[in-house]
Symmetry: C2
Subunit: 593 residues, 2 copies
């Protein structure tokens, strides 16, 4: 090894007995015991015990100066620890290094928090001292695993003929792009670049250029509020291929993800990922990114309550935009009043105006065996039908959602996940799922126009621009999302490759030819010069790393994440700049008020 | 292969004889000959000839519709080309595919320029139709090679224990950073992020966190005028290591570069790269990035002309900041008056006020055998001394530079390179060179202060802050540049790891403690908590790719480069944005004039 050391601390074991070693690292802990100094020496590979013996007075005197986080270089000999003093919790716990040389490379002030895995430290302090926070073995391990995730994905793609191409971060600003960061230029004062939300257009152009298989680990930007799992800059594994359809693309991508989990986590994922239509996912789970580890499902019961006098149910049941669904909770009969109230408040956050339920105490006794505030409003057949359809048995509870479909889906979908966790129903392991057959368009009733469910380059499942225009709401797209344990980790589609279809879609979205030209002219012109059939996908690497490392937050797999507070000089909020800087950019800050 | 094709066009050869194949690609050329249609079908791997025979009338009729750049899918059988019709220029030239199925996947308008390697096309047109320009095999090949360069470098680093860590693009703006792009935020109107010129501070923090070996293929930004070889965004292979000194770092890096050239170009680089001090490089070649392929050297002759009456030489020869140097040009005696005038104009661009020369016709005849406008101003011993020291022989010419040292170095350094190319003296091959022993500081006489030759985190070759302050001009730094064929491809240094030394350097650079705190407080505070000895390097990947692919410009190894013209909607200059967008950012464009 070409460095000041012969070994990493964490790599030493019995095979090194009696070897002379040189180690570099940090003083993790120092203990003085029986006139001897014991130092746990730490580097990125782990910790080893170093022993300083007063029989070597010079070295011992130097060791007496050591304090936590001092940086040192040690020369010594590896020996077996005395019987009874082995540390089975430590990979190096059977050996120790008897030092005969010590060089203090740097001193350290006392860190503001202990660098172990056990101490809970507030995030603000962690970020202000990020260089210390990242010394904690857990953080280092997460970022190392992230590095392995990326290199494993790259190796797969390199091995499958993909060409990595870098696309620009500074792109031309467009009049739209409400979430684009704008970048004023000194060289062209008053003019702006934009930071891309994704390399979408560039990668499609590369397909038109015949690159055939492209990928990039691309930094993307979105000028939006921070949320728990969202950073203003994020990293995407961006992929595009030509001459492949959605079946071929998704099969190749699931091979890649299987390869990733096998190599990095040594976990076998299913040989074929299940596929589910958007419609089925929403019907059964209230969401297009269902967590299949949770064995709870929504069941439609509108037909059973349509005639009921209970308006709360009958209203939505008779509304074409409404939904009435039941969610059976096995063993939910033991939920307390208080718990049910909590869940009622919880679904309220998603717009639900209440949370009806039925507890099944003794189904055999009919109505008498049930317990529910709404029982009296429902006819016998409805109650019986609901029990049969949900499969509820004694000890279960059935929750209901009745409202606009969107509200029912969101609220019961969220409740399903929460119940899964609260009741310990979440199965162990990884449950990937392709969600497919998305609608091409959604009707925006407020603005009276069609909107694209994905981006406007997504191909419809129909080849005829006229058929598309005839009934836009009925057309499915050739999009696909990869969902893992309830998180969307990737999304993509086959793209439109014929200019007539692209124009038809723009027209349906209400873009005039001039607007389409202004916004997407480059792409539309390029389509005219021989564009191959193509499609692609993008994976959110931050989220994938969060899932695979088991990190509690996306900020734990980003070395220097952004925060709302200005406490951390490097990762904090943006700052005011000087008048001179603004003048160079030909800009002025408006004075509000 | 999981796609609509069974093979790539360019992969077919005799081993595929009689196989049924499916190909996808572009119509590169169509020829009709003897009632048969021949199509050169192109994909990224190459071209193969496809034959459409009227004996299959349906397929033939479809083929009659084919035009250049149509996208097609062909089914056919591979056969040996008839004797005498093989094409040795084509990798697939021994075979052809007899089509029995043809599907037109997309049509194409006639491209604005032919997509071959032979046609010269103006850069403006190339960029406006970049998606077509990139179809040209040469461009595709360059970008593929670039992709291989990056993946080979990554493989080396992954294999040597380096951890890839992504650092932020959106960082906190500082009052300095005159070349930082500033990014206003919608979420914090009136406040700005800055795009980093390099991840320097972040990678040093990662060393303080114990990552030990870090790398990143990092996008960097510089808000400066475009030049021939400079883009406002560029890509850097950024590396940092702990517990290694400059010798260890440079040895590991040259191992990496050797591995790169061996794998990608199959070229063996020298087993040990030569090393040269900054002083020697400037003395012998007038520059700190000498092109060692050119066997011309500057020779100091000030001592020989110090007593001459010729003020043009004697002035600089007696000026401590002056330099008088000779450049022997073997065979330069045949340069014409016109050529010498051109070179005089050339060095004028670098500030030289003339270009004295001596032609050696017959040295044996003494002065009589020489030809020079300045001969009469120089004493015999000076002339004799110059001929001896430069080793000039009959048929040679000696150029002179006499001025401030900086002017002589720049002008004769540039002339040396130009002469090497003009006279065909450039040796074949790759000549790497480490330039080391840079001065730590340069005196800025105009502003009366010391400036850092590298960045202010570079370690001096002296450990004592007081010694440093005593004679700053004499201190060398622990920096190193890797030069290849006259281009600086990488540069780095061992960094300061002790807070006292960092403070001393800031003081020497004229930064008050408060200013240092404001600009670099984060780093200086971090140094106090146990910073390991560390250092690193950054390689300019765009330039490396340009050199390794033999591309004429850096823009030829960037898929979507920036230009000054607005002709290309995606790669062009920045644009004005709307009033609404500015309002969201709390900004106003100043109206000049």
């Amino acid at each position: 090894m070409l460095s000041m050391r012969s070994h990493y601390c964490g790599h030493l074991h019995l095979a090194h007995l009696d070897q002379e070693v040189e180690l570099c690292g940090w003083v993790h802990r120092r203990r003085d015991h029986g006139g001897i100094i014991f130092v746990d020496l730490r580097d990125r590979e782990g910790v080893v015990q170093v022993v300083f013996d007063p029989e070597r007075p010079q070295c011992f005197a130097e060791a007496e100066r050591l304090r936590s986080e001092y940086v040192v270089r040690v020369r010594g000999r590896v020996r077996r620890r005395p019987a009874g003093t082995e540390n089975p919790d430590l990979a190096t716990g059977e050996v120790e290094v008897v030092a005969h040389g010590l060089e203090i490379l740097n001193r350290a002030e006392t860190p503001p928090f202990p660098l172990d895995e056990y101490t809970e430290v507030g995030e603000e302090v962690r970020l202000r001292y990020r260089y210390l926070d990242l010394r904690r073995p857990q953080m280092l391990e997460r970022l190392r695993l992230r590095s392995r995730i990326v290199s494993t994905l790259r190796a797969f793609l390199d091995g499958h003929g993909f060409i990595e191409v870098e696309t620009p971060c500074l792109t031309k600003a467009t009049p739209e792009g409400a979430r684009d960061y704008l970048v004023p230029s000194r060289v062209h004062p008053g003019a702006f670049y934009a930071l891309p939300q994704s390399p979408q257009i560039f990668k499609q152009l590369l397909m038109m250029s015949g690159f055939d298989r492209y990928y990039q680990v691309a930094r993307c930007f979105r000028d939006e509020d921070l949320r728990a799992d969202r950073q203003p800059e994020f990293t995407q594994l961006d992929i595009e291929v030509s001459f492949m359809d959605e079946r071929e693309i998704t099969l190749l991508m699931e091979e890649m993800i299987r390869d990733l989990f096998a190599r990095v986590l040594e976990v076998p994922l299913p040989r074929a990922f299940p596929r589910m239509s958007y419609a089925e996912a929403v019907r059964r789970f209230g969401t297009d990114r269902p967590d299949l580890r949770i064995p709870l499902e929504l069941v439609d019961v509108a037909d059973l309550v349509r005639e009921a006098e209970f308006k709360v149910f009958a209203g939505p049941a008779n509304d074409p935009a409404g939904r009435v669904a039941a969610l059976r909770v096995p063993g939910g009969g033991r939920l307390s009043r208080k718990e049910i109230d909590d869940y009622t408040a919880f679904v309220g956050r998603y717009g639900a105006r209440g949370l009806a339920y039925v507890k099944v105490n003794e189904a055999a006794r009919g109505r008498e065996g049930l317990q529910s505030p709404i029982l009296k409003f429902l006819p016998d057949e409805a109650v019986q039908g609901i029990l049969e359809r949900t499969g509820a048995v004694d000890g279960d509870l059935v929750f209901f959602g009745a409202d606009k479909a969107a509200v029912v889906n969101e609220s019961l979908g969220a409740l399903r996940v929460r119940l899964g966790h609260d009741l310990g129903l979440v199965e162990h392991g990884w449950r990937p799922l392709w969600v497919v057959d998305f609608p091409m368009f959604e009707w925006n009733a407020d603005e009276g126009r069609w909107e694209a469910l994905h981006h406007p380059f997504t191909a419809p499942r129909c080849d005829d621009p006229e058929a598309l225009a005839a009934d836009p709401g009925a057309v499915l797209s050739r999009a696909y999302d990869l969902v893992l344990n309830g998180h969307e980790i990737g999304g993509g589609s086959v793209r439109i490759h014929r200019p007539e279809m692209q124009q038809a879609v723009f027209r349906l979205l209400g873009l005039s030819e001039a607007e389409a030209e202004e916004k997407f002219g480059f792409l539309v012109r390029a389509l005219r010069y021989g564009c191959p059939p193509h499609g692609g996908i993008a994976f959110g690497l931050d989220r994938l790393a969060m899932l695979m490392t088991g990190a509690p937050s996306i900020r734990d797999v980003i070395a220097f994440p952004k925060t709302q507070t200005a406490s951390c000089p490097l990762t904090g909020a943006p700052a005011a700049v000087s008048e001179a800087q603004l003048r160079e950019l030909n800009l002025r800050v408006r004075h509000s008020g």
